[in-house]
Protein backbone atom coordinates (compact mmCIF):
# COMPACT_ATOMS: atom_id res chain seq x y z
CA UNK A 1 0.00 0.00 0.00
CA UNK A 2 1.27 3.45 -0.91
CA UNK A 3 2.25 5.29 2.27
CA UNK A 4 1.64 8.89 3.30
CA UNK A 5 4.79 11.00 3.02
CA UNK A 6 6.42 13.24 5.61
CA UNK A 7 8.44 15.98 3.92
CA UNK A 8 10.72 18.39 5.77
CA UNK A 9 11.11 21.64 3.85
CA UNK A 10 14.34 23.61 3.86
CA UNK A 11 13.98 27.26 2.91
CA UNK A 12 17.36 28.33 1.56
CA UNK A 13 18.75 31.86 1.65
CA UNK A 14 22.38 32.51 0.72
CA UNK A 15 23.21 28.83 1.22
CA UNK A 16 21.74 28.57 4.76
CA UNK A 17 18.46 27.15 5.96
CA UNK A 18 16.11 29.84 7.27
CA UNK A 19 12.60 29.88 8.64
CA UNK A 20 10.12 32.72 9.06
CA UNK A 21 6.53 33.18 10.17
CA UNK A 22 3.90 34.05 7.56
CA UNK A 23 6.71 34.41 4.99
CA UNK A 24 8.64 37.09 6.98
CA UNK A 25 10.88 37.33 10.10
CA UNK A 26 13.62 34.94 8.95
CA UNK A 27 15.67 33.00 11.50
CA UNK A 28 18.78 30.92 10.77
CA UNK A 29 18.04 27.19 11.01
CA UNK A 30 21.35 25.59 10.05
CA UNK A 31 23.42 24.04 7.28
CA UNK A 32 21.14 22.52 4.61
CA UNK A 33 23.33 19.51 3.82
CA UNK A 34 23.68 18.54 7.48
CA UNK A 35 19.96 18.98 8.05
CA UNK A 36 19.10 17.02 4.90
CA UNK A 37 21.36 14.12 5.89
CA UNK A 38 19.87 14.04 9.38
CA UNK A 39 16.30 14.01 8.07
CA UNK A 40 17.09 11.25 5.57
CA UNK A 41 18.60 9.11 8.34
CA UNK A 42 15.58 9.75 10.58
CA UNK A 43 13.13 8.45 7.99
CA UNK A 44 11.97 11.53 6.10
CA UNK A 45 10.27 10.33 2.92
CA UNK A 46 11.37 13.22 0.71
CA UNK A 47 12.88 16.67 1.04
CA UNK A 48 11.97 20.02 -0.48
CA UNK A 49 14.48 22.83 -0.93
CA UNK A 50 13.01 26.25 -1.67
CA UNK A 51 15.47 28.98 -2.60
CA UNK A 52 13.50 31.91 -1.27
CA UNK A 53 16.01 34.48 -2.48
CA UNK A 54 16.17 33.16 -6.02
CA UNK A 55 13.81 35.59 -7.66
CA UNK A 56 15.80 38.61 -6.65
CA UNK A 57 19.36 37.46 -6.21
CA UNK A 58 21.89 35.29 -7.99
CA UNK A 59 21.36 31.56 -7.98
CA UNK A 60 24.36 29.72 -9.37
CA UNK A 61 24.95 28.60 -5.79
CA UNK A 62 21.66 26.72 -5.91
CA UNK A 63 22.94 24.33 -8.60
CA UNK A 64 26.05 23.68 -6.50
CA UNK A 65 23.93 22.98 -3.44
CA UNK A 66 21.70 20.61 -5.44
CA UNK A 67 24.76 18.72 -6.62
CA UNK A 68 26.07 18.30 -3.06
CA UNK A 69 22.68 17.14 -1.81
CA UNK A 70 22.32 14.64 -4.66
CA UNK A 71 25.72 13.13 -3.92
CA UNK A 72 25.07 12.70 -0.21
CA UNK A 73 21.34 12.12 0.23
CA UNK A 74 19.65 8.80 -0.62
CA UNK A 75 16.02 9.96 -0.70
CA UNK A 76 14.21 12.01 -3.36
CA UNK A 77 14.20 15.78 -3.26
CA UNK A 78 12.43 18.66 -4.97
CA UNK A 79 13.99 22.04 -5.68
CA UNK A 80 12.06 25.26 -6.15
CA UNK A 81 12.39 29.00 -6.03
CA UNK A 82 12.55 31.40 -8.95
CA UNK A 83 12.42 28.73 -11.65
CA UNK A 84 11.13 30.27 -14.87
CA UNK A 85 12.61 28.46 -17.88
CA UNK A 86 13.21 24.99 -19.29
CA UNK A 87 16.92 25.71 -19.03
CA UNK A 88 16.66 26.50 -15.28
CA UNK A 89 15.07 23.09 -14.81
CA UNK A 90 17.56 21.24 -16.97
CA UNK A 91 20.46 22.53 -14.86
CA UNK A 92 18.81 21.48 -11.58
CA UNK A 93 17.83 18.02 -12.88
CA UNK A 94 21.30 17.47 -14.34
CA UNK A 95 22.77 18.28 -10.95
CA UNK A 96 20.63 15.55 -9.41
CA UNK A 97 17.30 17.07 -8.35
CA UNK A 98 14.46 14.54 -8.70
CA UNK A 99 11.70 17.10 -9.14
CA UNK A 100 11.40 20.84 -9.47
CA UNK A 101 8.63 23.12 -8.31
CA UNK A 102 7.33 26.14 -10.16
CA UNK A 103 5.14 28.88 -8.75
CA UNK A 104 5.11 32.52 -9.86
CA UNK A 105 6.55 31.91 -13.34
CA UNK A 106 3.89 29.29 -14.07
CA UNK A 107 1.07 31.67 -13.19
CA UNK A 108 2.54 34.34 -15.43
CA UNK A 109 3.22 31.83 -18.22
CA UNK A 110 1.07 28.68 -17.82
CA UNK A 111 2.58 27.18 -21.01
CA UNK A 112 5.77 26.69 -18.98
CA UNK A 113 4.11 23.75 -17.18
CA UNK A 114 3.32 22.10 -20.48
CA UNK A 115 6.85 22.68 -21.81
CA UNK A 116 8.40 21.19 -18.69
CA UNK A 117 6.07 18.18 -18.68
CA UNK A 118 6.86 17.47 -22.34
CA UNK A 119 10.59 17.90 -21.90
CA UNK A 120 11.12 16.11 -18.57
CA UNK A 121 7.84 14.31 -17.76
CA UNK A 122 4.99 15.23 -15.42
CA UNK A 123 6.54 13.16 -12.63
CA UNK A 124 9.17 15.83 -12.00
CA UNK A 125 6.92 18.91 -12.32
CA UNK A 126 5.50 20.05 -8.98
CA UNK A 127 3.20 23.05 -9.00
CA UNK A 128 3.61 25.09 -5.81
CA UNK A 129 0.63 27.28 -4.90
CA UNK A 130 0.70 29.89 -2.15
CA UNK A 131 -2.91 30.55 -1.30
CA UNK A 132 -4.83 32.73 1.13
CA UNK A 133 -8.42 32.64 2.32
CA UNK A 134 -9.97 36.08 1.77
CA UNK A 135 -12.94 37.74 3.42
CA UNK A 136 -15.21 36.64 0.57
CA UNK A 137 -14.67 33.03 1.66
CA UNK A 138 -12.61 32.09 -1.38
CA UNK A 139 -8.99 30.92 -1.61
CA UNK A 140 -6.84 33.06 -3.97
CA UNK A 141 -3.40 32.49 -5.49
CA UNK A 142 -0.51 34.70 -4.30
CA UNK A 143 2.77 35.22 -6.11
CA UNK A 144 6.40 36.14 -5.39
CA UNK A 145 6.61 34.40 -2.05
CA UNK A 146 3.24 35.65 -0.86
CA UNK A 147 3.82 39.34 -1.65
CA UNK A 148 1.50 39.71 -4.64
CA UNK A 149 -2.22 38.94 -4.67
CA UNK A 150 -3.96 37.69 -7.79
CA UNK A 151 -7.64 37.31 -8.61
CA UNK A 152 -7.12 33.67 -9.57
CA UNK A 153 -9.01 31.11 -7.48
CA UNK A 154 -6.78 28.38 -6.07
CA UNK A 155 -9.06 25.52 -7.20
CA UNK A 156 -9.24 26.86 -10.76
CA UNK A 157 -5.48 27.26 -11.04
CA UNK A 158 -4.73 23.82 -9.61
CA UNK A 159 -7.11 22.16 -12.08
CA UNK A 160 -5.67 24.08 -15.02
CA UNK A 161 -2.09 23.26 -14.01
CA UNK A 162 -2.87 19.55 -13.77
CA UNK A 163 -4.48 19.67 -17.22
CA UNK A 164 -1.27 21.32 -18.49
CA UNK A 165 0.87 18.51 -17.05
CA UNK A 166 1.73 19.24 -13.41
CA UNK A 167 2.37 15.90 -11.69
CA UNK A 168 1.91 17.04 -8.10
CA UNK A 169 0.54 20.02 -6.17
CA UNK A 170 2.37 21.59 -3.23
CA UNK A 171 -0.30 23.63 -1.49
CA UNK A 172 0.74 26.23 1.11
CA UNK A 173 -1.89 28.08 3.09
CA UNK A 174 -0.59 31.55 3.96
CA UNK A 175 -3.25 31.84 6.64
CA UNK A 176 -1.74 28.82 8.40
CA UNK A 177 1.98 28.96 7.53
CA UNK A 178 4.12 29.44 10.62
CA UNK A 179 1.14 29.50 12.99
CA UNK A 180 1.40 25.87 14.22
CA UNK A 181 -2.39 25.87 14.45
CA UNK A 182 -2.96 22.99 12.05
CA UNK A 183 -3.07 22.55 8.28
CA UNK A 184 -5.73 24.16 6.08
CA UNK A 185 -8.01 21.13 5.95
CA UNK A 186 -10.84 22.48 3.77
CA UNK A 187 -8.83 23.63 0.75
CA UNK A 188 -6.44 20.66 1.02
CA UNK A 189 -9.40 18.28 0.93
CA UNK A 190 -10.99 20.09 -2.00
CA UNK A 191 -7.86 19.66 -4.07
CA UNK A 192 -6.79 16.20 -2.94
CA UNK A 193 -10.20 14.63 -3.51
CA UNK A 194 -10.87 16.30 -6.87
CA UNK A 195 -7.49 16.18 -8.63
CA UNK A 196 -5.93 13.08 -10.25
CA UNK A 197 -2.46 13.90 -8.86
CA UNK A 198 -0.96 13.82 -5.33
CA UNK A 199 -1.40 16.86 -3.08
CA UNK A 200 1.23 17.89 -0.54
CA UNK A 201 -0.25 19.93 2.32
CA UNK A 202 1.95 22.70 3.70
CA UNK A 203 1.63 25.37 6.37
CA UNK A 204 0.43 25.12 9.93
CA UNK A 205 1.64 21.73 11.14
CA UNK A 206 2.41 22.21 14.84
CA UNK A 207 1.45 18.97 16.60
CA UNK A 208 1.46 15.31 15.65
CA UNK A 209 -2.34 15.34 15.72
CA UNK A 210 -2.31 18.01 12.98
CA UNK A 211 -0.64 15.48 10.69
CA UNK A 212 -3.25 12.85 11.56
CA UNK A 213 -5.96 15.38 10.71
CA UNK A 214 -4.50 16.37 7.34
CA UNK A 215 -4.12 12.73 6.28
CA UNK A 216 -7.43 11.43 7.67
CA UNK A 217 -9.76 14.41 7.28
CA UNK A 218 -8.23 16.17 4.27
CA UNK A 219 -6.93 13.07 2.40
CA UNK A 220 -3.56 14.72 1.78
CA UNK A 221 -1.02 12.45 0.08
CA UNK A 222 1.91 14.07 1.86
CA UNK A 223 2.49 16.70 4.52
CA UNK A 224 5.29 19.23 4.57
CA UNK A 225 6.66 21.19 7.50
CA UNK A 226 9.79 23.12 8.35
CA UNK A 227 10.29 24.83 11.69
CA UNK A 228 8.86 22.07 13.89
CA UNK A 229 11.51 19.75 12.46
CA UNK A 230 14.36 22.30 12.28
CA UNK A 231 13.88 23.39 15.88
CA UNK A 232 13.35 19.78 17.07
CA UNK A 233 9.84 20.34 18.38
CA UNK A 234 8.69 17.12 16.71
CA UNK A 235 11.05 14.32 15.70
CA UNK A 236 10.31 12.40 12.51
CA UNK A 237 10.57 8.94 14.16
CA UNK A 238 8.13 10.00 16.93
CA UNK A 239 5.76 11.46 14.34
CA UNK A 240 5.84 8.30 12.23
CA UNK A 241 5.19 6.09 15.25
CA UNK A 242 2.28 8.29 16.23
CA UNK A 243 0.77 8.18 12.73
CA UNK A 244 1.23 4.43 12.54
CA UNK A 245 -0.56 4.02 15.90
CA UNK A 246 -3.45 6.00 14.39
CA UNK A 247 -3.70 3.45 11.53
CA UNK A 248 -2.17 5.75 8.94
CA UNK A 249 -0.09 3.91 6.36
CA UNK A 250 3.48 5.09 6.83
CA UNK A 251 6.99 3.86 5.98
CA UNK A 252 8.90 2.97 9.15
Amino acid sequence: MLTKRIIPCLDIKDGRTVKGTNFVQLKDAGDPIELAAMYASQGADELVFLDITATHERRKTLADLVNKVARQINIPFTVGGGISTVEDVRILLQNGADKISVNTAAVKNPALINELAKEFGSQCVVLAIDTKLEDDGEWYVYLTGGRTKTNIRCVDWARKAVDLGAGEILLTSMNHDGTKSGFALSITKRLSTSLPVPVIASGGGGTMQHFVDVFKEASADAALAASIFHFKEISIPDLKNYLSDQDISIRK
Binding site: M1, T3, N74, I75, G96, C124, G167, P196, V197, R251
Partner: protein, 193 residues
Protein backbone atom coordinates in the same frame (compact mmCIF):
# COMPACT_ATOMS: atom_id res chain seq x y z
CA UNK B 1 34.86 -4.82 -10.49
CA UNK B 2 33.29 -2.33 -12.84
CA UNK B 3 29.68 -1.34 -13.50
CA UNK B 4 28.48 0.24 -16.74
CA UNK B 5 25.48 2.55 -16.52
CA UNK B 6 23.87 2.76 -19.94
CA UNK B 7 23.74 6.34 -21.17
CA UNK B 8 20.68 7.27 -23.23
CA UNK B 9 18.02 9.95 -23.47
CA UNK B 10 16.48 9.31 -20.04
CA UNK B 11 16.71 10.94 -16.64
CA UNK B 12 18.05 9.74 -13.26
CA UNK B 13 21.38 8.50 -14.66
CA UNK B 14 23.22 10.94 -12.41
CA UNK B 15 21.33 9.71 -9.35
CA UNK B 16 22.27 6.10 -10.08
CA UNK B 17 25.92 7.09 -10.48
CA UNK B 18 25.84 8.97 -7.15
CA UNK B 19 24.25 5.96 -5.42
CA UNK B 20 27.06 3.70 -6.65
CA UNK B 21 29.62 6.30 -5.49
CA UNK B 22 28.08 6.15 -2.01
CA UNK B 23 28.67 2.36 -2.11
CA UNK B 24 32.26 2.94 -3.33
CA UNK B 25 31.43 0.92 -6.45
CA UNK B 26 33.39 2.01 -9.54
CA UNK B 27 31.07 2.88 -12.43
CA UNK B 28 31.08 4.47 -15.85
CA UNK B 29 28.21 6.12 -17.69
CA UNK B 30 28.54 5.05 -21.32
CA UNK B 31 26.77 4.25 -24.58
CA UNK B 32 29.85 2.50 -26.01
CA UNK B 33 28.86 -1.14 -26.77
CA UNK B 34 32.40 -2.38 -26.09
CA UNK B 35 32.52 -0.81 -22.62
CA UNK B 36 29.03 -2.11 -21.84
CA UNK B 37 29.91 -5.66 -22.96
CA UNK B 38 33.09 -5.84 -20.90
CA UNK B 39 31.59 -4.47 -17.66
CA UNK B 40 31.05 -6.90 -14.77
CA UNK B 41 27.58 -5.47 -14.13
CA UNK B 42 25.27 -3.32 -16.24
CA UNK B 43 22.61 -0.94 -14.99
CA UNK B 44 19.92 0.22 -17.41
CA UNK B 45 18.35 3.25 -15.68
CA UNK B 46 15.60 5.50 -16.88
CA UNK B 47 12.96 8.07 -16.19
CA UNK B 48 11.22 9.18 -19.34
CA UNK B 49 8.92 8.17 -22.16
CA UNK B 50 8.99 4.65 -23.63
CA UNK B 51 8.70 5.22 -27.40
CA UNK B 52 11.34 7.96 -27.65
CA UNK B 53 13.67 5.94 -25.42
CA UNK B 54 13.29 2.79 -27.58
CA UNK B 55 13.82 4.82 -30.74
CA UNK B 56 17.03 6.25 -29.31
CA UNK B 57 18.26 2.77 -28.32
CA UNK B 58 17.46 1.28 -31.76
CA UNK B 59 19.18 4.11 -33.63
CA UNK B 60 22.37 3.29 -31.75
CA UNK B 61 21.80 -0.49 -31.83
CA UNK B 62 21.89 -0.50 -28.05
CA UNK B 63 18.73 -2.66 -28.10
CA UNK B 64 20.71 -5.56 -29.59
CA UNK B 65 23.59 -4.93 -27.20
CA UNK B 66 21.36 -5.09 -24.12
CA UNK B 67 19.58 -8.26 -25.25
CA UNK B 68 22.87 -10.02 -25.90
CA UNK B 69 24.46 -9.27 -22.50
CA UNK B 70 25.46 -12.25 -20.35
CA UNK B 71 26.56 -10.52 -17.12
CA UNK B 72 23.98 -9.39 -14.51
CA UNK B 73 21.85 -6.52 -15.87
CA UNK B 74 19.55 -4.37 -13.70
CA UNK B 75 16.82 -2.29 -15.32
CA UNK B 76 15.42 0.51 -13.18
CA UNK B 77 11.95 2.06 -13.67
CA UNK B 78 11.64 2.85 -17.40
CA UNK B 79 14.69 0.62 -17.93
CA UNK B 80 12.76 -2.33 -16.49
CA UNK B 81 9.67 -1.48 -18.53
CA UNK B 82 11.72 -1.38 -21.74
CA UNK B 83 12.92 -4.93 -20.97
CA UNK B 84 9.29 -6.18 -21.25
CA UNK B 85 7.59 -7.16 -24.52
CA UNK B 86 5.41 -4.11 -25.15
CA UNK B 87 4.43 -0.83 -23.50
CA UNK B 88 1.11 0.93 -23.93
CA UNK B 89 3.06 4.18 -23.55
CA UNK B 90 3.34 5.29 -27.17
CA UNK B 91 2.29 1.73 -28.28
CA UNK B 92 5.94 0.71 -28.12
CA UNK B 93 7.51 -2.64 -28.96
CA UNK B 94 10.17 -3.16 -26.31
CA UNK B 95 13.15 -5.48 -25.85
CA UNK B 96 11.13 -8.60 -25.02
CA UNK B 97 13.43 -9.94 -22.31
CA UNK B 98 10.64 -10.28 -19.71
CA UNK B 99 7.47 -11.96 -20.91
CA UNK B 100 4.99 -9.34 -19.72
CA UNK B 101 3.35 -6.16 -20.95
CA UNK B 102 3.41 -2.62 -19.60
CA UNK B 103 0.05 -0.94 -19.07
CA UNK B 104 -1.25 2.36 -17.67
CA UNK B 105 -2.76 2.56 -14.20
CA UNK B 106 -6.56 2.88 -14.13
CA UNK B 107 -8.12 6.33 -14.43
CA UNK B 108 -9.50 6.18 -10.90
CA UNK B 109 -6.01 6.11 -9.36
CA UNK B 110 -3.81 9.12 -8.79
CA UNK B 111 -1.04 8.94 -11.34
CA UNK B 112 1.86 8.97 -11.27
CA UNK B 113 2.05 6.71 -8.23
CA UNK B 114 4.50 8.83 -6.24
CA UNK B 115 5.95 7.66 -2.95
CA UNK B 116 6.98 4.70 -0.82
CA UNK B 117 5.31 1.34 -1.28
CA UNK B 118 6.06 -2.19 -0.12
CA UNK B 119 7.58 -4.93 -2.29
CA UNK B 120 6.43 -8.47 -1.46
CA UNK B 121 9.32 -10.73 -2.31
CA UNK B 122 8.82 -13.78 -4.52
CA UNK B 123 12.46 -14.47 -5.43
CA UNK B 124 15.37 -14.01 -3.02
CA UNK B 125 18.31 -12.85 -5.14
CA UNK B 126 17.79 -9.06 -5.01
CA UNK B 127 16.07 -9.14 -1.62
CA UNK B 128 18.64 -10.87 0.59
CA UNK B 129 18.98 -9.32 4.03
CA UNK B 130 15.44 -7.99 4.49
CA UNK B 131 13.60 -9.42 7.51
CA UNK B 132 10.33 -7.80 6.44
CA UNK B 133 9.06 -6.80 3.01
CA UNK B 134 10.90 -3.51 2.39
CA UNK B 135 9.55 -0.14 1.27
CA UNK B 136 10.95 1.50 -1.84
CA UNK B 137 10.37 4.81 -3.64
CA UNK B 138 8.16 4.62 -6.74
CA UNK B 139 7.39 7.23 -9.41
CA UNK B 140 5.47 5.81 -12.37
CA UNK B 141 2.24 5.92 -14.37
CA UNK B 142 2.71 2.57 -16.14
CA UNK B 143 3.25 -0.87 -14.61
CA UNK B 144 4.38 -4.32 -15.69
CA UNK B 145 1.85 -7.10 -15.18
CA UNK B 146 2.49 -10.09 -12.94
CA UNK B 147 4.02 -13.10 -14.76
CA UNK B 148 6.20 -16.17 -14.15
CA UNK B 149 9.27 -13.92 -14.04
CA UNK B 150 7.89 -11.68 -11.26
CA UNK B 151 10.43 -11.38 -8.42
CA UNK B 152 8.33 -9.07 -6.22
CA UNK B 153 4.82 -7.65 -6.31
CA UNK B 154 3.40 -4.34 -5.08
CA UNK B 155 -0.18 -3.18 -4.64
CA UNK B 156 -1.48 0.02 -6.20
CA UNK B 157 -5.09 -0.47 -7.22
CA UNK B 158 -3.96 -3.89 -8.39
CA UNK B 159 -0.96 -6.15 -7.93
CA UNK B 160 1.89 -5.45 -10.35
CA UNK B 161 5.49 -6.58 -10.86
CA UNK B 162 7.73 -4.34 -8.78
CA UNK B 163 10.67 -6.64 -9.61
CA UNK B 164 11.30 -9.08 -12.44
CA UNK B 165 14.09 -11.53 -13.11
CA UNK B 166 15.04 -14.00 -15.81
CA UNK B 167 18.48 -15.62 -16.02
CA UNK B 168 21.02 -12.76 -15.82
CA UNK B 169 18.39 -10.04 -16.28
CA UNK B 170 16.82 -8.19 -13.34
CA UNK B 171 14.43 -5.27 -13.25
CA UNK B 172 12.90 -3.09 -10.54
CA UNK B 173 10.05 -0.63 -11.00
CA UNK B 174 11.09 1.43 -7.96
CA UNK B 175 14.17 3.59 -7.56
CA UNK B 176 16.77 1.84 -5.38
CA UNK B 177 19.06 4.86 -5.88
CA UNK B 178 16.48 6.97 -4.00
CA UNK B 179 15.17 4.39 -1.52
CA UNK B 180 17.34 5.10 1.54
CA UNK B 181 18.88 2.05 3.28
CA UNK B 182 16.54 -0.45 1.59
CA UNK B 183 17.69 0.75 -1.82
CA UNK B 184 21.35 0.56 -0.83
CA UNK B 185 20.91 -3.05 0.34
CA UNK B 186 19.22 -3.97 -2.95
CA UNK B 187 21.97 -2.35 -5.02
CA UNK B 188 24.61 -4.14 -2.93
CA UNK B 189 22.78 -7.43 -3.52
CA UNK B 190 22.86 -6.78 -7.26
CA UNK B 191 26.54 -5.86 -7.22
CA UNK B 192 27.30 -9.13 -5.38
CA UNK B 193 25.54 -11.33 -7.96
Amino acid sequence: MNTAIIKYNAGNIQSVLFALERLNAPAVVTDDPALIREADKVIFPGVGEASSAMQYLRERRLDEVIKSLEQPVLGICLGMQLMCTHSDEGDTTCLGIFDTQVKKFDQGLKTPQIGWNQAKQKRPELFAGFDEDPYFYFVHSYYAGVCDETAATTEYGLSFSSALQKKNFYGVQFHPEKSAEAGQILLENFLKL
